[in-house]
């Protein structure tokens, strides 16, 4: 299995059972996940995100000898020097881009974000755009962060057909809206960590949209990894559909 929604680090608003690379690898072992696309949690709330990327990379290099973690750099397109941060990220080993427009205060369809997505696409990097990381009803009272408007991600994907964009954190209502655009936007994928219903949720999605555009996302360490896995692995769908979502689609995107 390959997890397309796994983050590593400390979160300002609650402790997690896993907060570094070593403990994350243990969690992945326990869940039976062979590889994971990872980004820095610290970078989400750092005003200047890149130092958190550097810390994460140091941790990965010290701990992940087998190369199971596929690091994505978390950057803010509107922060000064971001293109230099992108280049440095590539030099030190990052292999993709992860954006949190709602936490860093920009729209993903604004020119600075489009420029960064274009830069990533030029290197053959996929880009993850996070819609939300936590239920909006449970945020810190002084830091209520709204979800990213779906239309802004769709617009960005339309503007940049050469960019592979993975939407992360889309809920049960938003995910079908994205998958309905599969024919029009072959560059758009959805990881399923935030799909929590309705009954037989994944089976219903596969029935409507097929299995080629969805990816396993556990949302480790925010969520029990078994939740993201069980709804796919134990769904009433074909073995091929399970294989697509749990591994093969990610393998294709990551060129593994």
């Amino acid at each position: 299995m390959i997890d397309f929604c796994c983050d590593i680090g400390n979160y300002a608003f609650r402790p997690w059972p896993a907060n570094d690379t070593a403990s994350t690898l243990e969690e992945l072992d326990r869940a039976g996940i062979s590889q994971a696309v990872v980004g820095s949690i610290d970078a989400i709330t750092y005003v200047s995100p890149h130092p958190a990327n550097e810390l994460l990379m140091d941790d990965i290099k010290a701990t992940d000898a087998e190369g199971r973690l596929i690091p994505y750099t978390v950057l803010s397109p509107v922060y000064p020097g971001v293109e230099q941060d992108m280049r440095e990220s590539r030099e030190i080993g990052f292999r993709g881009l992860k954006l949190y427009p709602n936490y860093h205060g920009y729209q993903v369809d604004d020119p600075p974000a489009l420029r960064l997505l274009e830069m990533a696409a030029g290197w053959g990097w996929p880009s993850v755009v996070s819609i939300r990381i936590e239920d909006e009803r449970h945020h810190h009272p002084l830091m209520k962060v709204r979800s990213v408007p779906l239309n802004s991600v769709i617009w960005a994907a339309r503007q940049l057909p050469e960019a592979t964009i993975i939407v992360s954190g889309a809920n049960s209502v938003e995910t079908p809206q994205l998958l309905e655009l599969s024919d029009e936007l072959p560059n758009l994928y959805v990881e399923l960590s935030y799909v929590k219903g309705p009954v037989a949720a994944v089976a219903k999605l596969v029935e409507r949209f097929g299995s080629k555009r969805m990816l396993l996302g556990t949302h480790l360490p925010f969520v029990y990894p078994g939740c993201g896995i069980a709804k796919i692995a134990e769904a009433d769908i074909t073995q091929q559909a399970k294989q697509d979502i749990l591994e093969d689609n990610a393998r294709r995107i990551l060129e593994l």
Binding site: R14, D135, H138, A200, V223, G226, A230, K231
Partner: protein
């Protein structure tokens, strides 16, 4: 034993939804579904409340060996609210379900609470704590704690661990008569273990909140937790079975 303590029925004239629900629940290994009203988010007339209960009991009658119905009411309706509860027990109800028509500490709840105590049945109260602001008559965990202290003989179940489980667990940790169910979309890593650490394994009950939730997603948060097998068995069915007098 696997009991989903928090499932909602759905407007289902031809029974298709019920058949799909039961098929999926049985496929996963669920032994019983405790069913409540269709999800409601306001104060409504008695007619609407009765229609909700009619749906619940119609669903129950389709699979009476599988479903365990709870009667739903809006306590602000006064005597009519209590009469509707009694009508529900005449039709086979095994507990009472309350949503967002009144905060549980409101005086109008008193006859409903007394009815639950007299019948010795569980009362499930939808509960949430929202930083974005609760609905006008939406119960918070601290309200459940207050009622638990006032009526220690009441079998009160604070639904959803009050949504924000950090808040909910602390709200009722020193009120041993209050149970909680972990139904709903929230699966924060570690919260099941924290709930058991503070409340004990006898006070946590598994539920899903279908039809809005997925059975497998919600089951995995208990199954994937680091609880002992003995505690998982309590949470996933034995606690509910005791409350419902199935064992």
């Amino acid at each position: 034993m696997l009991i989903d303590f928090h499932a909602h029925v759905h407007d289902d004239e031809d029974g298709k939804y019920t058949r799909e629900l039961v098929r999926e629940a049985r496929r996963i290994g669920i032994d019983y579904l405790v069913i409540h009203e269709p999800v409601s988010h306001s104060r409504d007339s008695l007619e609407v409340v009765q229609r909700c209960n009619d749906l619940t009991f119609r669903t129950y009658e389709r699979e009476p060996e599988y479903f365990i119905p709870f009667v739903y009411t809006h306590p602000n309706l006064g005597q009519a609210a209590l009469d509707e509860v009694k009508r529900g027990f005449d039709r086979g109800a095994r507990g009472i379900k309350l949503e967002v028509a009144s905060i549980i500490t409101d005086k109008c709840l008193e006859p409903i609470i007394e009815e639950a105590i007299t019948r010795d049945v569980p009362m499930v109260q939808h509960t949430w704590h929202k930083v974005t602001g609760n609905l006008r008559w939406e119960t918070d965990g601290v309200h459940c704690a207050e009622i638990g202290r006032r009526y220690p003989e009441l079998k009160l179940v604070m639904a959803h661990i009050s949504g924000d489980n950090r808040w909910g667990i602390r709200a009722v940790r020193d009120v041993p008569s209050v149970y909680t169910d972990c139904s709903g979309s929230i699966a924060d890593y570690g919260h099941i273990e924290e709930c058991v650490r503070f409340l004990g394994a006898d006070r946590l009950i598994w539920g899903t909140d279908v039809r809005g939730a997925d059975f497998l997603y919600t089951l995995a948060k208990v199954r994937d937790s680091k609880l002992s097998d003995e505690d998982k068995a309590k949470v996933l069915g034995l606690n509910a079975a005791r409350l419902l007098k199935l064992i």
